[in-house]
Point group: C2
């Protein structure tokens, strides 16, 4: 059964694939699963129809027959459990890959997301200029630890996994800043992931949606 995911009708990143539907698109491409996309406006996200899919009124969601899921991490894990290619077969390696999924979302994403929130929502506040370097130092703490762990390995723990997929989509929020470049092995890690055919297909698909609807209401 072909799943349906939701994505922003007009992505605020203008085609950079920073919204969380990219995680689902990429995961589905890695496992070779076709899908359809339902585009949702910001006002539709908070209406009863979409709140029935996700009580927090966010994208992405995932519908597959009767099953309705939300949370990009949960959806990626569901895809990884239903198809080969995103989690190792060995039970211990699988548990470690899932650990990296949670590390991406619960340890690395929060300081990176807080920097984004400050840039988007607090740029006009009198404290922004003094506070931004504090936020960037909190990001550096996590990047330094992650860089130390990765060393010269290709991926976080053996073969590419759903843990790398979530980590890379998180690190890409720093693509427009100089922060990632301070850690050359992390910048190379992101570039290595972006060179994967499945990433490229997912990226091109969301970019095509953006171009098709650019300027539309």
């Amino acid at each position: 059964m072909t799943p349906t995911i939701t994505a922003f009708a007009q992505s605020p990143d203008r085609g950079k694939a920073l919204a969380r539907d990219m995680r689902i698109r990429w995961a589905l491409e890695e496992v070779g699963q076709p899908y359809t996309v339902r585009r949702i406006s910001f006002s539709e996200m908070k209406e009863p129809g979409h709140l029935g899919r996700n009580p927090f009124g966010q994208i992405p969601t995932y519908e597959e027959g009767d099953l309705v899921l939300f949370e990009s991490g949960a959806i990626v894990l569901h895809i990884a459990e239903c198809h080969r290619g995103l989690l190792p077969d060995d039970a211990q390696a699988r548990a470690r890959a899932i650990t990296w999924m949670f590390a991406a979302l619960n340890t690395v994403e929060p300081p990176i997301f807080n920097r984004t929130i400050a840039l988007v929502m607090e740029r006009d506040k009198p404290w922004h200029e003094e506070r931004l370097p504090i936020l960037e130092d909190r990001v550096r703490v996590r990047l330094g630890e992650l860089s130390g762990h990765l060393g010269d390995a290709d991926w976080l723990d053996g073969a590419f996994s759903a843990g790398d997929l979530l980590m890379v989509t998180t690190l890409r929020w720093l693509s427009a800043s100089k922060l990632l470049g301070e850690y050359p092995n992390l910048a190379a890690y992101v570039a290595r992931a972006e060179a994967r055919p499945a990433f490229k297909r997912a990226f091109e698909d969301q970019l095509a949606v953006f171009h098709a609807h650019a300027g539309a209401a």
Copy 2:
């Protein structure tokens, strides 16, 4: 094999069970699995021994023979997959319960944790007084949505699950504030969870550790 978890040698919450090892203690009590606890000081957390368990130098970690995991969400999921009692048997209900685990950690925890960070790390900043109400309003957005979803149900989706366990441990960070009380069904939800025998056993165990070492170096 009896697993070993790590916890703060001196919990900064003074026995309120707000540190993330509580999630693991509670999960293990729910499934009836004995465990041992290794107490770690703040300086030990950043030393090579512990960084080998968790590259980000945080607690909790989980060791079971050769397997070493970190991230409270990943550890709770691992426990839930190895023992009955924290995830439904039905595949769709199981996927939804896992969705709530990620919702707790990736949608509800961030604004709550940001309020805690501000109270602990930015209380002396000139912007603290003006910024705190902004942070509390961001918490209210999520609490309102969660409250709307919960309604008069006992748990988030059918029977108690690992999703409730992570959500409740997240909401408990608001126990000392008036925010939770603005949503009576959420306050009752937390109280209902705290009344579970497994929660009580986990709480008493961490409190005993705190009392045994209170005032120690």
